[in-house]
């Protein structure tokens, strides 16, 4: 198993960041994300937390470095170049945190990647000091995010590609596979695959951060059209996020637009 960890702070309020998270596709850094659907969403009546489960379809292919390690015919032949990602999100607006978990749903025998993020409100100092609550300048409000990605390859551990075997009903590659694994260290292959995953993830995490920042910037500048494309009619000239912004950020927008 391998881990990747990253800490980052957005110069935006928690409400804005959590809204941007739900709105983050599409953005110029997310061209690989083809579709996004909400599978389930509810507010837990006990905790008042908002739970969301989404399904993303992303363009992807098994990295060539990993393909080289796989027995012939595995990993490439029936790959559609697309993969499904399941994302679970929990928001606690009162406590000011959001937890997310994304995992790949296929090829988990070769490499299972689980990305967890924890977003937390970082109250500004001025905000805390303004006890009377009047004209609290929250413009310095920030939101921290801790990203942890876990990589786990179970290649050669029996659970190998169960789905694929089931799908094709073709066991032709069983024999060469056994030979392949006896001739190489299973642990070594797993480690190599996990490391390839880590190196790809570093870039992906950076890109996703840039994507979030673009969405946040669009929200701040009142770019309703930019964020929602042609859907501004639904929100009217008094864009919803503008109010979210006004809670947390950049008061000049108010003067601008009202």
């Amino acid at each position: 198993m391998k881990f990747f960890e990253n800490n980052f702070t957005y110069d935006y309020s928690f409400p804005a960041v959590s809204l941007a998270y739900f709105l983050r596709y599409p953005n110029p850094h997310s061209r690989h994300v083809l579709t996004t659907d909400v599978i389930d969403r509810y507010v837990d009546p006990k905790t008042q937390r908002l739970h969301t489960i989404r399904l993303h379809l992303k363009k992807s292919k098994v990295p060539s470095g990993i393909l080289k390690l796989l027995p012939k015919g595995m990993g490439g032949s029936d790959s559609s170049g697309q993969s499904y990602i399941l994302e679970k999100t929990t928001v606690d607006a009162k406590e000011g945190w959001m937890e997310t978990e994304s995992r790949n749903m296929e090829w988990t025998g070769i490499l299972s990647v689980v990305e967890k993020q924890c977003y937390k409100r970082l109250p500004s100092e001025e905000g805390r000091l303004a006890l009377d609550g009047l004209a609290v300048d929250k413009s310095s409000e920030q939101t921290s995010v801790k990203t942890t990605v876990t990589f786990r390859s179970r290649l050669g551990q029996g659970k190998l590609l169960g789905k694929k075997k089931h799908d094709t009903g073709d066991h032709e590659d069983e024999e060469p596979r056994k030979g392949f694994f006896s001739s190489l260290s299973t642990a070594g292959i797993q480690r190599t695959i996990e490391l390839i995953g880590v190196s790809r993830t570093k870039e992906a995490v950076l890109k996703s951060k840039e994507g979030m920042n673009i969405v946040l910037e669009r929200l701040r500048s009142g770019g309703v059209v930019g964020v929602l494309e042609d859907r501004e009619a639904a929100f009217g000239p008094d864009g919803t996020w503008k109010r979210v912004w006004l809670q947390g950020k950049d008061r000049s927008i108010e003067n601008d637009k009202s």
Partner: protein
């Protein structure tokens, strides 16, 4: 706004997404957590989507993935923090 995996659900998804974003920013984030303004739209959207997920055989995979792994409960999260 991101497209649906099922093109035939795009219209209803868009209506639902719009409703959700409005509810989320105007109500939920402001503490009005019990309202369910978008329930009817979500039901329609889910009806459309589930049909397609089933047709493509993705529904079982989604169910498995939802069950699998470290789905922490709220209680566990609280203990941790």
């Amino acid at each position: 706004m991101a497209a649906s995996i099922a093109p035939e659900c795009n219209d209803i998804k868009e209506k639902y997404d719009t409703c959700f974003l409005k509810w989320y920013s105007e109500k939920y984030l402001r503490g009005n957590t019990s309202s369910n303004d978008c329930e009817a739209l979500f039901k329609n959207y889910k009806g459309c989507l589930n049909k397609v997920l089933k047709e493509r055989g993705i529904d079982a995979m989604v169910d498995d993935a939802r069950k699998s792994g470290s789905s922490e409960t709220d209680a566990e999260f609280l203990k941790k923090s």
